[in-house]
């Protein structure tokens, strides 16, 4: 009885605090603040304070929530929560180097499916709001999803082939362990094109500047989010920030998974805490390279150009890696 109570508390702690909800929310909003500050500095502006995403989130909580007449109320209000839940579950699957809540044989495939949930939530919410602008946004969001999904699958395939050999290893935990003994995948020449492709997949998944065709505020008035206000909008903005952390953390585990400190200072709570700090630092660098830098120097794509770019350049880079790995490099 006593043991099961402790076990239940441990599970609750994992879901609500450390690799789960609180950790992802705090780090996600922190990364979003860093992104805005970096973009501002690159444009020679002072930029908003680091806490700006927190202010935005709290402010939106305090605004009136309007449900339009044309909307399907239940679906309209449930959509942001669905996306939020999907992201929290995803956070439990992403290890902090050696430490993860759920680990199994196919967690990379589960993650691939879970990654679509926030985008699908956006699509559901947009279609429930009944606005024609949202309709355009939804169709663009679907095309964006199709565009980045193909390169992402090829990237994961080449990582799986590299780590597992002909058996194909789809376990994130094993990928991280393999890197701890064989060196980070980022330093294996065959996987460098895949890493570059992954850096380009992240901004499309999160929906930042050159790839934010679905939410283009100057042409289709924020697309699927057009009718949202108040708390549901706050949750959608939070989802974007959380996605930022989850995608960069996935990148860190796939390509820089071997830098765990557990082998130096021994496994335990200090090692996990130190690992978490190192992971966040790598996430900041990845945020800078994949999101802030590209955001500051580019304008928005047209949707057909985005599709073409992903299925030729990015998928080509990923496929190059796959071919190299398949020939045993």
């Amino acid at each position: 009885m006593n043991f099961s109570l402790i076990g239940a508390l441990q599970i609750l702690f994992k879901i609500l605090i450390f690799p789960g909800l609180l950790f992802v929310v705090v780090i996600g909003l922190f990364l979003a603040g860093i992104d805005r500050k970096l973009v501002a500095r690159m444009q020679k502006r002072v930029g908003p304070p680091l806490r700006q995403p927190w202010f935005d989130f709290l402010k939106l909580l305090g605004k009136e929530t309007i449900v339009p007449h044309a909307a399907n109320k239940a679906v309209y209000l449930a959509a942001p929560v669905i996306g939020f839940t999907g992201l929290v579950v995803m956070a439990l699957f992403i290890p902090v180097f050696g430490y993860s809540t759920f680990s199994g044989n196919g967690d990379l495939i589960v993650l691939l499916y879970l990654l679509t949930i926030p985008a699908v939530a956006l699509i559901i919410g947009g279609s429930a709001s009944g606005s024609p602008y949202a309709g355009i946004g939804i169709s663009r969001e679907m095309v964006t999803m199709m565009s980045y999904e193909l390169p992402l699958i090829i990237i994961l395939l080449s990582v799986a082939r590299k780590v597992g050999g002909s058996a194909l290893c789809f376990s994130l935990g094993q990928i991280v362990n393999w890197q701890a003994s064989n060196g980070c995948l980022a330093f294996h020449p065959a996987l460098i094109p895949a890493m570059l492709a992954m850096l380009l997949v992240i901004p499309a998944e999160v929906g930042t500047q050159p790839f934010d065709v679905a939410e283009a505020e100057t042409e289709i008035c924020e697309g699927p989010l057009i009718e949202y206000s108040g708390a549901p909008l706050a949750v959608f903005k939070l989802n974007t920030a959380m996605k930022m952390f989850i995608m960069t953390a996935l990148f860190t585990n796939l390509f820089f998974g071997g830098v765990s400190t557990a082998s130096l200072i021994g496994a335990g709570i200090p090692a996990i805490a130190l690992d978490a700090v190192i992971m966040v630092l790598i996430c900041i660098v990845v945020t800078f390279l994949s999101m802030s830098l590209i955001h500051a120097i580019t304008a928005r794509f047209k949707i057909e150009h985005l599709f073409k770019f992903y299925w030729t350049v990015v998928a080509g880079l990923a496929a190059l890696s796959l071919v190299l790995v398949w020939f045993g490099l």
Binding site: L58, K59, G62, E64, T65, E217, C221, E222, I226, L233
Partner: protein, 148 residues
């Protein structure tokens, strides 16, 4: 405590929605200048929103032509509470050089509640920042009044 935090962040993150009601584009350009690197209003958290549903501050420019009057009222009705209305330049206040025209409904105060009026033809970017900041302070007070 949360309510206090919400009221405080009202002031720190005001999102602007801009409506042109027949302006000559002079004030609109000055509003955009406020967001450029030179004046950088984003350091106070100001952001241009794409839809009235996301807006906290509605900025009106132009002398309100008869065609745009109904649209202005309808757009303002779509903004969630608490909200602030700011007029940009002399046109919405008095009609400026268009005063007396058959197609101009000039003083916007006649049919819309105005919180802050920024004067000038065209307005100065410094004045715009000062006015918007004042509007953000009013926003916080409005939210605090909602708490009670």
């Amino acid at each position: 405590m949360l309510k206090n935090a919400i009221a405080k962040s009202m002031m720190r993150s005001p999102w602007i929605y801009h409506i042109n009601t027949g302006s000559c584009n002079g004030c609109d350009i000055e509003l955009v200048a406020v967001l450029t690197p030179r004046y950088d209003a984003e350091r106070f958290g100001f952001k241009l929103a794409g839809t009235p549903r996301h807006a906290d501050i509605v900025v009106i420019s132009g002398p309100v032509t008869s065609q745009s009057k109904d649209r202005l009222i309808r757009t303002l009705a779509q903004v969630p509470e608490p909200k602030c209305v700011v007029t940009l330049g002399s046109c919405p206040q008095s009609g400026n050089v268009f005063k007396g025209s058959y197609s101009v409904e000039a003083p916007v105060e006649n049919f819309v509640h105005v919180d802050v009026a920024i004067a000038g033809c065209t307005v100065k970017p410094e004045a715009v920042i000062a006015g918007l900041y004042k509007a953000a302070e009013i926003l916080e007070k409005k939210r605090e009044a909602m708490n009670k």
